[in-house]
């Protein structure tokens, strides 16, 4: 919403400057978005008078002018055909920046004559779209008068109107709040009814849909339409509106002056002697004033006459009945439309007119007749004519109901200590009716429905600057910290992976549906109806594809060696329980070549990182299963980590080359995905003490075993049974060699395991060790079919 200071002053007696108005608006909740101040923009420009203009010696189209300026007499070269002696125009000194093209003037010769400044056209100052020649101003203007003053340009204040305050869509509403805030005295001109000379010949009809519960109108006959007077055109232009004709300009003026949209019909073009507001019908169409034709079905409120629908009620008038230069009889509509229907119609038809914007937010239901009378008065003044009686059909909604207001609630809710007199003063100034403990909101404040709303009114006008700063009552700190186990695990995982060398990424929750389908997602209920882009249309079933895509992007930029992780949500359905948290990481190993020739196996390094991560977040022991991974993993080079036979906690390995190809990424890419929410949580224990530390005084010893295993059996499966062979004595079992070749039967491999044994109470005799070894061999044989290599 835009307005100028002079317009505001028609409603508010104030001496405040633009800056003061802006400050007062901001602190009363009218958020100023922009102030366009021509005075500042054109500060360098001022009125000047051409004393002499002679032909340029070297150019036919140029004149050399002697000009009286704020800087004294100047010689200026000018190419405008109207540059002549005696002309009063606008002068730009050397160093000024021309608004239209951003050029900064320099004193330099034009065809051999130095121009000491410039004489300006309206287009160059951006006060008109085009112009032929330099400005021709009133000869009475004094040389040196600032250009903005000479051109009658004013600062325009543009502010955001929050949806609760449709009354701010009229300058009168802005003035009322500023008056309440102490910026001046409210003086909105009163509206006096105009008596009609004859009954209104157009009958007003309403259907019972509630789309248009009230409609006031009157006919004025014998008007002369044409361009509106200068003051009206300037006023509309000042806020960026295009003047059309006097009748239309008057309705636009009232729309912005009083937040009261109106419509004018050429009565000669109405059929049947009646006008009706009703819902549209199947197949009905309206050609609107913007030249486009809109479908006006049963969801839309239309204005109709005997010929059918002639306008989109509250949204836009129709072309067939609009006013023109030839209009002599005008019918004025001042109606109230259901805001929700108007909002919907605007969205459906894609129309955001000034009327639609106001009706959608709610126009003052008591403004029908005053708006009609004000329009009548202006039409009579400007276009002449003879008014009929005003007619009101239907009934606009009643103002919000009065309610009890305990003034003590102001302090209870806001903390502001404000006396009753001040509270009541603010409410009265804003138009609220006060009757003892009861407060009646004004008709234009349909947003006010309870006492909290009144506290806001009082607090914002009194000023939020006065709010006390009151410490919160001390809360007993949670003895175990505020985070849940899951939340703590997420933090730990983040820090652990960052320490392991992975860079944390945060990627979008959506991805391309085809990609989601590759990763087990893409259900129809997870496809957005209105995605921001076609390749971001589906909620992600996995984080991996986003990280893989990031690897591709980084590779294309020349940074292929990426290790990324993300901790975030995945979505398996649209129910709350379908969202879960995963920790995902990818590595695209392109390590730098090493001078020592050594190499790290990326897949086992990743496995090590995953195991270390699981350790850091306190996961229980998990079982590794190979050969059963989801299809986006490379089958021979991936595995799952399970808790029990069913719960898959994590999958890791190499991404399937076909999946990488589909995402246009060069492999190999390795990764893991860990389902955090499936990890059981340890019980929070009250007692934090740990079992006593009891180191054995005896030396540990180690023994090596070499087992023969079928070549496709998982060697790692040996470890667990060996450890279980004697839980008290065996502290560790580590595979340190795997061998196939001479000395090992065909189809078998030799797996060497170092077993570390910690005697507890007494030194082990050779016989004890042999018994233990036999148990180890037996356990390995029983669990894995392993034979001791002889």
């Amino acid at each position: 919403m835009k307005f100028t200071l002079s317009w505001l002053r028609e409603h508010l007696d104030t001496s405040a400057s633009v800056a003061e108005v802006v400050e007062a608006m901001t602190m009363a909740g009218l958020e100023v978005e922009h102030v366009d101040d021509p005075g500042a923009r054109l500060a360098a420009f001022s009125v000047a008078r051409i004393v002499e203009a002679v032909q340029h010696p070297n150019a036919d189209r140029l004149r050399v002018c002697q000009v009286d300026t704020v800087d004294g007499r100047k010689e200026i070269v000018c190419g405008a055909p109207n540059a002549r002696a005696g002309l009063t125009t606008i002068y730009a000194p050397i160093g000024a920046c021309i608004p239209a093209n951003g050029l900064v003037l320099e004193a330099r010769p034009v065809r051999g004559v130095v121009s000491n400044g410039m004489l300006c056209s309206a287009a160059e100052l951006q006060t008109a779209e085009e112009s032929d020649g330099i400005l021709e101003l009133d000869a009475g203007l004094a040389v040196g008068t600032p250009a903005a003053v000479a051109l009658g340009l004013e600062a325009v204040i543009d502010f955001e109107v929050t949806p609760n305050r449709p009354d701010w869509l009229g300058v009168d509403g802005v003035a009322r709040d500023l008056a309440a805030a102490g910026l001046g005295r409210l003086k909105t001109p009163a509206i006096t009814p105009v008596a009609g000379g004859f009954p209104c010949p157009v009958q007003i009809r309403l259907d019972d849909s509630g789309a248009c519960p009230a409609f006031a109108g009157r006919l004025i006959r014998g008007v002369r339409n044409g361009p509106s007077p200068d003051w009206l055109q300037r006023k509309l232009l000042s806020i960026g509106l295009r003047p059309i004709s006097a009748l239309v300009d008057i309705t636009n003026l009232i729309t912005f002056d009083r937040a009261r949209p109106l419509h004018v019909y050429d009565a000669a073009r109405l059929s049947g002697g009646w006008i009706e507001a009703r819902l549209g019908r199947e197949g009905e169409r309206v050609e609107a004033l913007d030249g486009k034709t809109y479908a006006a079905g049963p969801e839309t409120c239309v204005i109709a006459d005997a010929s059918g629908a002639i306008g989109l009620g509250g949204v836009m008038g129709g072309a067939s009945t609009g006013c023109s230069e030839t209009t002599t009889d005008v019918f004025i509509e001042s109606a109230w439309f259901d805001p929700i229907r108007i909002a919907q119609t605007g969205r459906t038809l894609g129309i955001a007119s000034d009327a639609q914007y106001r009706f959608a937010r709610g126009v003052d239901p008591e403004s029908l007749l005053p708006g009609l009378e004000l329009a009548t008065r202006l039409i009579l003044d400007i276009c002449g004519g003879e008014p009929s009686e005003a007619v009101l059909a239907g009934q606009a909604p009643a103002p919000p109901a009065p309610f009890a207001f305990d003034r003590g609630y102001v302090e209870a809710l806001s903390g502001l200590s404000i006396g009753r007199e001040r509270i009541d003063g603010i409410l009265s100034a804003l138009g609220f009716g006060l009757d003892g403990e009861t407060v009646a909101p004004p008709s234009w404040r349909r947003d006010v429905e309870g006492k909290a709303d009144l506290v806001e009114e009082v607090a914002r006008i009194a000023g939020y600057g006065a709010l006390p700063s009151t410490p919160l009552p001390p809360a007993r700190p949670a003895p175990g910290g505020v985070l849940t186990v899951r939340q703590s695990r997420m933090r730990t995982a983040r820090r652990a992976l960052a320490a392991f060398g992975y860079a944390e990424a945060v990627t979008s929750s959506f991805m391309k549906r085809a990609t989601a389908e590759t990763f087990g997602g893409g259900a129809p209920e997870l496809v957005l109806s209105n995605p921001i882009a076609a390749d971001l249309d589906c909620m992600r079933p996995s984080i991996l594809p986003n990280l893989i895509e990031a690897v591709g992007r980084n590779t294309r930029r020349g940074y292929p060696d990426a290790a990324l992780f993300e901790i975030g949500p995945i979505y398996r359905g649209d129910q709350p329980g379908d969202q879960s948290t995963v920790i995902a990481a990818v590595v695209s190993p392109h390590p730098a070549r090493r001078w020592d020739g050594r190499d790290v196996d990326a897949l086992f390094a990743l496995k090590g990182d995953l195991e270390a991560l699981l350790g850091e977040i306190g996961a229980p022991a998990l079982q590794m299963v190979q050969g059963d991974s989801s299809p986006w993993w490379s089958p021979g080079r991936s595995a799952r980590l399970q808790l029990g036979p069913k719960t898959v906690i994590a999958e890791f390995g190499e991404i399937h080359p076909a999946v990488l190809k589909a995402q246009d990424v060069d492999g190999p890419v390795l990764g893991f995905e860990l389902h955090l929410d499936l990890l059981p949580e340890p019980k929070r224990r009250e007692v934090k003490t740990r079992p006593a530390f009891q180191p054995s005084p005896l030396m540990p010893l180690s023994r090596d075993f070499a087992f023969l295993l079928p070549e496709d059996a998982p060697a790692g499966d040996l470890v667990r049974p060996i450890l279980a062979a004697d839980k008290a004595l065996i502290t560790e079992a580590r595979i340190f060699d795997v061998y196939q070749g001479p000395g090992v039967p065909e189809g078998f491999k030799s797996v060497a395991v170092e077993v570390r044994i910690q005697p507890r109470e007494q030194t082990l005799t050779e016989a004890d060790i042999e018994t233990l070894s036999a148990r180890i061999v037996g356990a390995a044989e029983k669990a894995c079919g392993a034979r001791l290599r002889s």
Binding site: S414, A478, R486, A498
Partner: protein, 369 residues
């Protein structure tokens, strides 16, 4: 009788002259061995008189001890020299690089999340979470956005397809629906991580992903918000002001930040406010804590009585405040990333530039960042 002093002198010269351990051992044998000159000299004592033996015996013994000690000392010297020579030969070129090590890091948005949790945990706030896919009721209606109301248009909402009843789920446009989940006690069966209704007093923050259909330098279709909610008896706007002032000073880690409370409108708070911080924009970038400009950083207000009622709380008994702000944007203001869209592009160079060390976990003892 051999001159003892001369013998000792000759022997010492030989010991000191031994160039290596082998020569030293030869000297030792020649001096103290079975046929060594000192051993032989000692043997001659048997053939001298008792008087002479009483004089010569101790002299020879003392000389032998001195020579033995000198041999040991020389041996230690030669061993040390040999070690030095060996070490000098096995020199390693330490200008060569160590095995490569990837440098990881924490994403700035997540670092800021951790900072915010640290600040508010200290003020007694717990952390509540809710799902990203929400019902229209939780995202709008319960928060006093009536169906079809223009206020809904302020949020550019992402919709999922309508179900059999024509109801459409939305991607939450703010973290505020978790307010409803925290206050509204229902029988809905939910996973443990999702906040469920609790009895006041309530003091929580709600970090999370939020979604709006917009994209430019300062907006991304996915972003992060943090919500705060306090419900208790007697909570008023003064408490809100103190809480936010405290939060802003602690988050920006300076007392120089000036804040301004300005009236605004949100459907779910009444009265409502926006908070501006003073800043300087003259250099093209925003600098908090200097200058004369104002920058809006968050919205807040007293929880609307209709919202309390919608959640089954009596507004004549319980009062409270709520606030919400963009986490990514807070990160931008504090750490100066120029384009919000880069936050979610996973560019390894950007992550290395703006990321945080794994060990920079915010804590009250060492500060946030």
């Amino acid at each position: 009788m051999t001159d003892i002093a001369e013998l000792e002198s000759n022997n010492l010269t030989r010991i000191d002259g031994a160039a290596d351990l082998a020569a030293l051992d030869e000297a030792r044998v020649a001096i103290l061995g079975k046929s060594g000159n000192v051993t032989l000299l000692a043997r001659t004592l048997g053939s001298v008189s008792l008087e002479e033996r009483k004089v010569l015996g101790p002299q020879i013994n003392q000389m032998r001890d001195r020579l033995a000690a000198r041999i040991e000392a020389r041996k230690a010297e030669l061993e040390a020299a040999e070690l030095e020579a060996q070490l000098a030969a096995s020199r390693v070129d330490l200008s060569l690089p160590a095995p490569p090590r990837r440098r990881g890091g924490v994403h700035p948005t997540m670092q800021v999340m951790d900072e915010l949790v640290a600040v508010f945990a200290d003020m007694g706030f717990g952390v509540a979470e809710g799902p990203d896919i929400e019902t229209d009721f939780n995202n709008f209606t319960a928060l006093n956005f009536p169906p079809k109301h223009p206020a809904r248009e302020m949020h550019d909402t992402f919709f999922l397809p309508p179900d059999a009843n024509g109801d459409r789920k939305v991607l939450r446009t703010h973290t505020s629906p978790v307010q409803v989940r925290v206050m509204h006690r229902t029988n809905e069966k939910l996973p443990g991580w999702i906040a469920s209704g609790q009895e006041p007093p309530i003091r929580v923050i709600v970090p999370g992903r939020t979604f709006r259909q917009e994209s430019d330098r300062t907006h991304t279709p996915m972003f992060h918000q943090i919500e705060g909610l306090v419900i208790d008896k007697g909570i008023h706007m003064g408490h809100l002001k103190w809480t936010l002032e405290t939060f802003i000073a602690r988050f920006f880690e300076t007392d120089r930040v000036t804040t301004r409370f300005r009236p605004h409108h949100f459907p779910f708070t009444e009265p409502s406010a926006e908070i501006d911080v003073k800043c300087d924009r003259s250099g093209g970038e925003v600098r908090i804590g200097e200058g004369e400009d104002w920058l809006e950083i968050l919205g807040c207000g007293m929880v609307h009585p209709n919202v309390l009622r919608n959640c089954g709380l009596d507004p004549d008994v319980w009062q409270g405040f709520a606030f919400g702000c963009g986490v990514d944007r807070l990160g931008v203001l504090k750490y100066g990333m120029p384009d919000l869209r880069d936050m979610f592009a996973a560019d390894v160079r950007w992550l290395a530039h703006y990321g945080f060390s794994a060990f920079a976990a915010p804590n009250p003892a060492s500060g946030l960042s």
